[in-house]
Amino acid sequence: MSQAAVIEARNLDLTFETGDGSIQALRDVTLEIGKGEFVSFIGPSGCGKTTFLRVVAGLETPTGGEVRVNGTSPDEARRDRAYGYVFQEAGLYPWRTIAGNVRLPLEIMGYSRSEMADRVNRVLELVELSGFENKHPWQLSGGMQQRASIARALAFDADILLMDEPFGALDEIVRDHLNEQLLRLWDHTGKTIGFVTHSIPEAVYLSTRVVVMSPRPGRITDIIDNPLPRERPLDIRDTPEFLEIAQRIRKGLRAGHSYGD
C-alpha cells in the first residue's frame, strides 16, 4: 500500500432513487488500491461490489464522497481510456468476428491498421484464442467467448483492469483454468486489477487483498491482506494458509449478513 494509489475512494456514498423509495447502494466506502495490486470484492448480491466498480469506471456517479482514479476523476480516467472493463457477460457483437470484436476498442480509439493487427494477434495469443480470429462469437463456447472479451479489454493496454464477475456463468473446470490464466496474465503485465466475485476460493486464489462487503446498505466489513506468494499453483487451495483466509472471509460475510436481517 506504500506505492502510489491508483484508485482512491473516500467516504463514498451512492443512493439510487427508484420508484418505491431510495436504495443506499454504497455507504461510507473508503479504500485505496495501489499500483499492481489484485483486489477482489466479495459479498452477497446487493452489497454494492458491482456498483463500486461502476463508480470507479465512471459509469455511475456517487452521491457523496470522492473517488480518484490515477489522480483524476473517474470520468476523466474513462476519457483517458485508463481502464479495461470486463462485464459478467462476454457481450461480443455477433456481427463481428472474434478478431473484429477485439479490434473494436482499437478502432474507436483510432489506432493504425498495422498496430491494430499486431495488438489483436498479441492479446488473442495471451488468452489462447489464436486460430479463432475469423470465427463468430456464436461458434465459440461460453468460456472462449469470455476469454475473447478479456482480450478485448486488454487490447488497448490500459493499466487498470476492472472485472465484474467475469467467470460467474462458467462451469468450475473452465473457471479454474481461466483463473490460472488470469493470474499468469496479471503477473506478466503488472496491471492493477479490481475483481468482483461471488466465490470465496476464487477471491483467495487470485488476490493480493480481499474486500468483504455486505448489503443494505452496501459497505465494507473487512479488508484482508493475502499473504500467499505470487506464484500460486491450483493446489495451493488445499493448504492450511489458504483455508485460513477463506475461513476469515466466510466469517466476515456471515457477520455482515446477520447485521442486515
Binding site: R78, R81, E89, G91, Y93, P94
Partner: protein, 280 residues
C-alpha cells in the same frame, strides 16, 4: 360439365402425391421442398382450367389460365411498358425515396427527444390516412405521370420503415452501451459500430413490409389519373372494356414482380444480418 369430374380426380391425385412427398425422405431435401408447392400450384391452375371450360364460365367472370397465358404472350410489349411505368418508375423510386427519408428521420428522432415526441405521433397519424384519400391529392400536386405515384408510395412505405428503425435503434443491451462508454466512444461511433448493426433485423423487417406496400400504392394511385400506360391504368380501363384476360395478365405480372422484389430484399437481409439467430 364432363370436365369437372377429371378436375376432381386430378385434385385427389395431386393431394395424394404431395402427401407422399411430404411423408417421404425427400421432404427435407431441397428438391422435396420445391416440389410440394410446385405440384400444388400446377394443380390449382389445371383445376381452374378444367372447371372454367367444363362449366363454360364466361370470360368476363373468369378467363381460363391458357387464355391469360395467351394474352401474356401476345401483349408482352404493352405489359413491359406498363411494368416500367408503374413498377420501375413509380414503385421503385418511391420505395427508395421513402426508405431513405424514413431512415434519416429515424436517425433524427433518435438524436432528439423533441422530435421523438413530436414526429412519432404525427407519423402514426399519417399512417392511419387511407390511401384512396391521399392518392387523388398527390396526383393533383405532382401531376399524372409517375412522380405522383412515387409520392403515394413514399407516404405508404414511410411509416413502417420509420417505426421499425426507431425500434431497432433502441434494441441494444445496457451492457453493450456501457461497453461503448468505457471506451468513451462518441455518439457517431456508438451509432455506427453498435446501434445500426443491431438495428438491421428490424430495419429489414420494415423494408420487406414496404415492398408489397410500394407496388399496391403505385397501382392504386393510377386509378386517380395517369398517362395512358401503367399497370393500374391498364387494369381499370380493361375492366371497363371487359378485357378480363388483360386484367389477369397485369395481376400475374404484379404478383411476379412483388415476389421478386420481396425475394431480393430477403436476399440482402440474409447477407447483412447473417449473424442474427433467425438467419444462421
Amino acid at each position: 360439365m364432363t370436365l369437372v369430374f377429371p378436375a376432381f380426380v386430378l385434385w385427389m391425385a395431386a393431394w395424394w402425391l404431395n402427401t407422399r412427398i411430404a411423408g417421404s425422405s425427400l421432404a427435407s431435401s431441397y428438391a422435396g421442398r420445391v416440389a410440394v408447392p410446385v405440384v400444388f400450384g400446377l394443380t390449382v391452375l389445371a383445376i381452374w382450367e378444367l372447371v372454367v371450360r367444363g362449366l363454360d364460365v364466361s370470360q368476363v367472370i373468369l378467363p381460363a389460365p391458357t387464355v391469360i397465358a395467351e394474352t401474356l404472350a401476345d401483349e408482352t410489349g404493352t405489359l413491359w411498358i406498363d411494368f416500367r411505368q408503374t413498377a420501375l418508375k413509380g414503385a421503385i423510386s418511391g420505395y427508395v425515396i421513402g426508405c431513405l427519408a424514413a431512415f434519416s428521420v429515424a436517425l433524427a428522432i433518435d438524436r432528439s427527444p423533441y422530435l421523438r415526441r413530436g414526429l412519432l405521433p404525427i407519423g402514426n397519424f399519417v399512417a392511419a390516412l387511407p390511401i384512396v384519400g391521399i392518392a387523388p391529392i398527390l396526383v393533383n400536386w405532382f401531376g399524372f405521370d409517375w412522380q405522383s405515384k412515387a409520392a403515394v408510395v413514399v407516404v405508404m412505405v414511410f411509416f413502417p420503415i420509420l417505426v421499425n428503425t426507431v425500434q431497432g435503434l433502441a434494441d441494444t443491451a445496457a451492457m453493450q452501451r456501457d461497453l461503448m462508454r468505457t471506451y468513451s466512444a462518441s455518439y457517431w461511433q456508438t451509432l455506427l459500430k453498435l446501434r445500426l448493426p443491431a438495428a438491421m433485423p428490424f430495419v429489414f423487417n420494415g423494408l420487406k413490409i414496404a415492398t408489397t406496400l410500394a407496388l399496391i400504392g403505385a397501382i392504386v394511385a393510377e386509378y386517380f389519373g395517369s398517362p395512358t400506360r401503367g399497370m393500374g391504368f391498364r387494369i381499370s380501363t380493361s375492366v371497363g372494356t371487359l378485357e378480363l384476360a388483360m386484367v389477369w395478365s397485369e395481376i400475374a405480372v404484379t404478383a411476379l414482380a412483388g415476389t421478386l422484389f420481396y425475394g431480393a430484399v430477403t436476399l440482402v437481409e440474409r447477407w447483412v444480418t447473417f449473424w442474427h439467430p433467425s438467419q444462421r
